[in-house]
Amino acid sequence: MSIFVDSDTKVIYQGLTGSQGRYYGLLNREYGTQVVGGTNPKKAGEDVDGIPVFANCADAVEATGATASCIFIPAAGVYSAVMDAAQGGIKFIVCITEGVPAHDEAKFYNELKAQHPDVQMLGPNCPGIITPGQCNIGITAGHIAKPGGPVGIVSRSGTLTYQALYELQQKDIGVTTCVGIGGDPVPGTSFIDCLAAFEADPATKAVMMIGEIGGSAEEEAADYIKNHMTKPVSSYIAGVTAPPGKKMGHAGAIVSGGKGTADAKMEALRDAGVKVGLNPTEAGELMAEIVASM
């Protein structure tokens, strides 16, 4: 079992004909993902290494029965790409592109909610999602993840997501699904969406959650864990020692006026019964202890 995607998921790559889209689309296919098509209005009818290219998602969905898409379109075109996917019948949209303006994100988030409430968006600015051994959508290196379970991972940071997968693989612990929600101001999928899905997934027995300074998503997740989760959670928050007011690379990772600090987030998580590590390795060790005690 898994959340959101599995071996049956058929995926369209929006921007498959671009260099990034082609590179990761083929890599994902090699991993075993059902990469059934791509889109590019100017190249409909062509193919990328045997993968058919369609003018838009509606055509691609009609021809292939795809339910998911992965966006590798430059930031300026992301808003249109998201709406094309939703209007075309895609139900799970993964947006890898970074540098999308926050106003665009806020707009398509709310338009999807109002006009396409059954569509789930992941990202933008995220590494994607992987159900090890079954389906890898995005830029995660598939071979660093051990298939199976019992751990689900949700993370706001790209490289720390890989780090978490790797720490668990080194300890011979499998992962049901690993979701990178991205560090942008308006992520389509939240920590809570993933925690709820992991709670409902019978194969997932514990969850590793990796957060960052800035915003209040981790505090909200802590509240959710406290009130709704029965499965154990381990966590790490990056940016414990980041100076206030400094923007650390991600649009999301900024602390202002004591709000969104790592300390506040760790405190909220501990209060919810979460095992909090001070670095990624420690969070991995805490998860290993949780798994060993099952």
């Binding site: 890599l27 930031a75 300026a76 540098g99 999308v100 303006p101 926050a102 106003h103 806020a106 707009k107 988030y109 709310n110 338009e111 109002a114 830029i139 995660t140 290196a141 071979h143 660093i144 993370s155 706001r156 940071s157 790209g158 490289t159 720390l160 997501t161 890989y162 780090q163 790797y166 560090g183 101001p185 308006v186 990796i210 960052e212 300074i213 915003g215 209040s216 998503a217 909200e220 790490y236 990056a238 940016g239 414990v240 020692t241 980041a242 100076p243 400094k246 923007k247 650390m248 690379g249 991600h250 649009a251 990772a253 006026g257 001070l278 670095n279 990624p280 390795t281």
Partner: protein
């Protein structure tokens, strides 16, 4: 991107909001000439990317041109919370009856835009929020719908402004929302928004933060990028397109990925060291990027050791290792380097680095070990 007050006012004025006449001055002479053209009395205002300008003596009323001369002399070069004043905004002084507050920003929890309006302006809005939260009238605006005049009217009515100010305030907040959305701003704030004795509602200060991600549709924002406050190191990194934040310690940090770079900074602190910077070189970690990163760090005189923390994902360990070796051949590094290389094909990568190791280039198996080593080297250099 943070704008100076005067840039923010000019930005607002493009959307039809009323601002005072004024001029930028870089010297005392320019300030005096500006005041002569504008006519006294004027305000002499320090232009820095920092709050607390008034308290620091950076905002002065000048009744005469002689006063302008005196205040400009005092304010230019002043240090306001670590920001040195290099430019002034000389503005026609306004008569003030009342001071209000108005802003828009993104409420990340609600995933909607948040407008705030208060009759208690002129002070820190955080203070009002804590001491008298009911004094702030709030509105959540759905970005897919926008702000209607009816909704704005209800919102403004809730702020208990002077009744004569309501119509003018509705007009300004509608324009403020347009500026916020069309200008791709992260924050637009007017504090104070004033009511004048002749019952005009007027913008007296401007705080604007623009979304750097939106530059592709606002080519004119390049001029704001040039006036961002950066220290010498940050400027050099910016020129190379690197994600760099200067810190005050002695351990230089290079990592791939913002999360890993933040985590590296954390671990250095946890083992008793002080990071000199945050530097994210992104996923690829090729020789060009690595060489650029090493150059920036090498030019920081405070750096006593360097910690390169790379996790190979799609980019394999041997590519990373070859990149590091090539970069080291191009840049002459003074400080000892500690490398931690993990992830995809880490073994192969380490094998490539092995022959190059010496007392200036070391390798450790884990992030914690490498951090300890780098910190010990930095401290050894201090002694």
């Amino acid at each position: 991107m943070d704008l100076f007050e005067y840039q923010g006012k000019q930005f607002f004025n493009q959307f039809g909001m009323p601002i005072s006449d004024g001029e930028v001055a870089f010297t005392v002479q320019e300030a005096v000439s500006a005041a002569e053209r504008l006519g006294t009395p004027v305000m002499v205002k320090a232009q820095v990317h920092s709050g607390g300008r008034g308290k620091a003596g950076g905002v002065k009323f000048a009744a005469t041109v002689d006063d302008v001369q005196e205040h400009a002399t005092n304010i230019l070069g002043l240090d306001i919370n670590g920001h040195i004043v290099h430019r002034l905004w000389i503005e026609k002084a306004s008569d003030i009856s009342e001071e209000y507050y108005a802003s828009f920003t993104l409420d990340r929890s609600a995933k909607k835009h948040l407008g705030m309006l208060s009759a208690e302006g002129g002070v820190e809005i955080e203070t009002v929020a804590v001491e008298n939260p009911d004094a702030i009238s709030k509105i959540h605006v759905d970005p897919a719908v926008g702000l209607t005049r009816e909704a704005a009217q209800v919102w403004v009515d809730g702020a208990n402004l002077n009744p004569v100010a309501v119509e003018g305030a509705v007009d300004i907040v509608m324009k403020l929302y347009t500026a916020y959305v069309e200008g791709d701003a992260d924050l637009v704030e007017i504090n104070p928004l004033i009511l004048t004795p002749d019952n005009r509602v007027h913008v007296l200060d401007a705080k604007v933060t623009l979304d750097a991600n939106s530059v592709f549709r606002h080519p004119d924002y390049a001029e704001f990028d040039e006036t961002q406050p950066r220290d010498e190191r940050e400027e050099a990194a910016h020129d190379k397109g690197l994600q760099y934040v200067g810190l005050e310690g002695s351990v230089g940090v290079i990592a791939n990925g913002a999360g890993l770079a933040m985590s590296t900074v954390d671990v250095i602190n946890q083992v008793g060291g002080k990071p000199a910077n945050f530097l994210d070189i992104g996923g690829g970690a090729n020789a060009d990027v690595m060489a650029g990163a090493l150059e920036v760090i090498n030019n920081d005189p405070e750096v006593e050791s360097i910690f390169i923390n790379i996790f190979g994902g799609i980019t394999r360990g041997e590519e990373v290792a070859n990149g590091i070796i090539e970069a080291l051949n191009r840049v002459d590094i003074d400080a000892p380097i500690v490398i931690r290389l993990d992830g995809t094909n880490a073994e192969e990568g380490r094998a490539i680095l092995e022959p190059a190791l010496n007392d200036k280039l070391m390798m450790e198996p884990t992030m914690l070990d490498a951090a300890r080593k780098a910190v010990a080297l930095a401290k050894g250099a201090d002694a």
